[in-house]
């Protein structure tokens, strides 16, 4: 067995195990962390395919940004695991059927002659100084320019939609314009009252009743 093949099997074992744990982990935070491991391991698979740019992009985008925000949200949730698992066996037959259909569909597609996977040869090793990024960039900005731009527009749409959904004034918001904060002078906040440093001794009138 060659070295890359050993690496492939080790990575695959870790990937399958962590993917399994994502589904079965009792604690949602643990599940999210297992998912991080799964992403990281699959970037190793990209590296084996000599797609270093995609491997690094996967780590950068999914591990470095998406999953951090995901964890952020999951850690704040208060999830009762027992409640979540209550109807597990009741829903199991339906879920299993859906899962099996999905697996069958994937097998059908991948095993069909149109997929050309049977006679697929391993990619020829690239020259040591070949730039993955350059090759990918050339492809994206020439051959696949249109799909690339469409994907960009789609992402932009998602950004605009997300901002539009969250951009609303709260009634109890305490937002203060930073420009106004900067412009504040001491006189706006504090008024200095001149008082005489010495006062006359208060006159005590013995005839008055003592104050309550």
């Amino acid at each position: 067995m060659s070295f890359p093949l050993i690496v492939f099997y080790v990575l695959s074992a870790i990937l399958l195990f962590s993917a399994f744990k994502v589904v079965t982990a009792k604690n949602p935070v643990h599940a999210a962390l297992w998912l991080v491991l799964a992403f990281f391991t699959s970037s190793g698979h990209w590296l084996l395919l000599q797609a270093e740019f995609l491997a690094i992009a996967l780590v950068l985008v999914y591990v470095g940004a998406v999953m951090v925000l995901f964890l952020f949200v999951v850690m704040m949730l208060d999830i009762n695991i027992e409640k979540m698992r209550a109807g597990f066996w009741q829903h199991f037959p339906l879920a299993a059927t859906v899962g099996l259909i999905m697996v069958a569909e994937m097998v059908l597609i991948l095993a069909s002659p149109q997929a050309h996977l049977a006679g697929y040869e391993a990619a020829a090793p690239l020259a040591a100084d070949a730039s993955n990024v350059k090759v990918l960039g050339l492809q994206i900005y020439t051959t696949y320019l249109m799909p690339f731009e469409l994907a960009a527009v789609l992402l932009l749409l998602a950004i605009v939609a997300a901002i539009a959904l969250t951009q609303r004034e709260r009634k109890d918001g305490k937002y203060v314009d930073p420009a106004m904060q900067v412009e504040v002078k001491a006189a706006d906040r504090l008024s200095i009252v001149k008082m005489a440093a010495v006062r006359d001794e208060p006159v005590i009138n013995e005839t008055n009743e003592p104050q309550a």
């Binding site: 740019f53 690094i56 992009a57 780590v59 950068l60 470095g64 940004a65 951090v68 952020f72």
Partner: protein, 348 residues
């Protein structure tokens, strides 16, 4: 290398040789981290009219060793209600990226552990994982202060990573490469003939400032150290850590500082290039010493900031990251792009 390969065979020899190189990078790094803590205490001390540590060894030079021994000998306390496994993994995940990023950092144009093509991307990817150490540690400790620190840190690091990424995009646009060696070599060409005038510092000055400030925020250093925020949340994400587990967070923070300083030097300050023209003989010659000087200069700025500025309020941090830095960098990416296409381009 040939000698070791002859001794152990080709494959094993390569592995041993690479391990030796890793040790040759990590060991001086740890020493640098130790003495950076001393430098910090001394520099801040003098800025505040104190003399800093001066009891252990001459001028306090053995202070980091004493601190290290103290931390090694202290007990690591596992909080009873914590998540034990993640509590241990937290510090590990925080130091591992800080060290792994050094694999592609070049020290001179030939002295680099792994001269990979996309080294800049690799560094961005690896350093973006450092935040997991903080989040996991903060969550696993099962303490409210820890958790607040972790949440603050996660939001802050993700915010500033974007501005940092855009700053790097302009650098790779003008260099036409993602390789750090190539980025430095590109700064040696151009109008100034390899002197300070041809560094990225001048044409990309706004990006340099953004990168430097975002770097301070990424490393959770003052004035962006709300993740620790002693006065508000005691020590943030590492409030429950003691002994060596705490020290590992400390090491990671300082290793990250040195890494950011090295990257700033490589990308904006010409790396190992001399600030003088190459025709000036010994002064104009490039070498590791220049890189070391530049890293020290940037690190001094880190310490200087800490002694100078009060901590930012949390909403101010978010405003600076999202409403100031990201628009500035976005505009500057377009400006540099137009500049490169115009006849006035400096980067032909």
């Amino acid at each position: 290398m040939e000698f070791i390969q002859g001794l152990l065979g080709e494959q094993a020899g390569l592995v041993v040789w690479t391990l030796l190189k890793i040790v040759a990078i990590v060991a001086p790094m740890m020493l640098a981290v130790a003495y950076l803590t001393l430098a910090e205490r001394k520099v801040i001390g003098y800025m505040q009219l104190r003399i800093g540590p001066n009891r252990v060894g001459p001028y306090g030079l053995l202070q980091p060793i004493a601190d290290g021994v103290k931390l090694l000998l202290k007990e690591i306390i596992l909080p009873a209600k914590s998540n034990k496994a993640l509590f241990i993994i937290g510090p590990i995940l925080s130091i591992a990226p800080a060290l792994a990023a050094w694999a592609v950092v070049p020290f001179t144009d030939t002295l680099v552990l792994a001269n990979i093509d996309a080294s800049l991307l690799y560094i961005m990817a690896v350093t973006s994982m450092g935040v997991y150490g903080v989040i996991i540690a903060g969550w696993a400790a099962n303490s409210k202060y820890s958790f607040l620190g972790a949440m603050r840190s996660a939001a802050q690091i993700v915010s500033y990573e974007i501005a940092m990424g855009f700053a790097l995009v302009t650098v790779l646009m003008v260099s036409g490469s993602l390789n750090l060696v190539e980025i430095v070599n590109q700064q040696g060409r151009g109008m100034g003939g390899g002197s300070i005038l041809s560094w990225n510092l001048i044409p990309l000055f706004p990006m340099f400032i953004v990168y430097l400030i975002a770097g301070v925020a990424e490393t959770n250093r003052a004035p962006f150290d709300v993740a620790e925020g002693e006065s508000e949340i005691v020590a943030g994400f590492h409030v429950e850590y003691s002994g060596m587990a705490f020290a590992v967070f400390f090491l990671a923070e300082y290793a990250n500082m040195i890494l950011i300083a090295a990257l700033t030097s490589l990308m904006f300050l010409g790396g190992w290039l001399s600030p003088f023209p190459a025709s000036w003989g010994l002064l104009g010659a490039s070498g590791f010493i220049w890189l070391a000087l530049k890293i020290s200069l940037v690190l001094f700025c880190f310490l200087w900031f800490r002694a100078t500025f009060p901590r930012y309020r949390y909403d101010q941090i978010m405003r600076l990251g999202w409403k100031v830095f990201i628009p500035v960098t976005l505009v500057w990416v377009v400006v540099v792009g137009a500049w490169m296409m115009s006849p006035l381009s400096l980067w032909q």
